[in-house]
C-alpha cells in the first residue's frame, strides 16, 4: 500500500525537530491513505500552529491535491484547537453532524494526551461517513 505524500513546504518528514517519532509519522501517513481508500476522497492531516484559527486551516486545505475533493483535519496542540475543513465536493457526502462527531471523538483522545490515536479515530470516522453509496453503472469496474 502506498504511503501518504508529504506536501512540499512542510517540515515532515525530514525535519528532525518534530516531536513526533518516525513511527508516529508513518502511522499518520497510513491513516490518511487508508481514509482515501475507504472514501475515495483525499485526506490530509496538519499538526502545527494555526495562528488565525480556521482561516489558517483553510489556507493549508488549499495546498492539498484537488482541494474541492479533500478533507483536512488540522490540530494546533498548543492552542488545543481542532479544525476540520471540507472541500465543496466532499461537503455533499459529509454532513456537519459527522464532523462534529469526529471532533468529539478526537477531543476525548486529545484530552488524554493521545494525539495519534485521536487523529486515527477522527479521520477514520470521517472517511466512513464520507463513503458514498455505490451507484449502478458509475461504480462498476466494467
Amino acid at each position: 500500500m502506498p504511503t501518504g505524500e508529504v506536501v512540499a513546504g512542510y517540515g515532515f518528514p525530514a525535519d528532525a525537530s518534530s516531536p513526533l517519532s518516525d513511527g508516529q509519522r508513518r502511522e499518520l501517513s497510513r491513516i490518511v491513505q487508508r481514509a482515501r481508500m475507504i472514501s475515495g476522497y483525499c485526506f490530509g492531516v496538519f499538526v502545527g500552529p494555526l495562528p488565525e484559527g480556521r482561516v489558517s486551516a483553510v489556507v493549508h486545505h488549499r495546498s492539498l491535491p484537488d482541494p474541492r475533493s479533500a478533507v483536512l483535519v488540522a490540530v494546533d496542540p498548543a492552542a488545543r484547537a481542532i479544525e476540520i475543513v471540507l472541500g465543496s465536493t466532499v461537503a455533499i457526502d459529509l454532513s456537519t453532524r459527522s464532523c462534529e462527531l469526529a471532533a468529539l471523538s478526537m477531543k476525548s483522545a486529545f484530552a488524554a494526551d493521545d494525539l495519534v490515536n485521536g487523529l486515527r479515530d477522527g479521520v477514520t470516522l470521517l472517511a466512513e461517513h464520507a463513503r458514498h453509496p455505490k451507484v449502478l453503472h458509475l461504480d462498476d469496474t466494467a
Binding site: 501518504g4 508529504v6 518534530s18 517519532s21 486551516a57 493549508h60 494546533d76 498548543a78
Partner: protein
C-alpha cells in the same frame, strides 16, 4: 519481630509501593507518545493522501472562483 523488621514491614513496604505507583503513573509523560502538548511550532507538518478518486457523478465546476472549502467544524479541547 525486631524493631528493624517492623520498620521495614510497616514503613519500607508502603513507601516502596508508593514509589512504584508514582513511577507507573508518571511513565506516560516520560515517553514521546505521551506528550501531546509539546511545542509543535518548530516542526509543523502536513501529510496528505493521494488525490481523490475521480467521481463521474460530480460535475466539475467551471467557475474557478467558486468556493473551495464547503464546510467543516471548529472545536477546542
Amino acid at each position: 519481630m525486631t524493631a528493624l523488621q517492623a520498620l521495614l514491614v510497616f514503613v519500607g513496604i508502603p513507601v516502596a509501593l508508593a514509589v512504584v505507583t508514582f513511577g507507573l503513573v508518571s511513565a506516560s509523560g516520560w515517553t514521546r507518545s505521551g506528550r501531546a502538548s509539546a511545542d509543535y511550532a518548530a516542526g509543523p507538518f502536513l501529510v496528505a493522501s493521494d488525490a481523490a478518486v475521480p467521481n463521474p457523478s460530480i460535475v466539475p465546476s467551471d467557475n474557478p472562483d467558486a468556493a473551495v472549502a464547503g464546510g467543516g467544524v471548529s472545536a477546542h479541547w
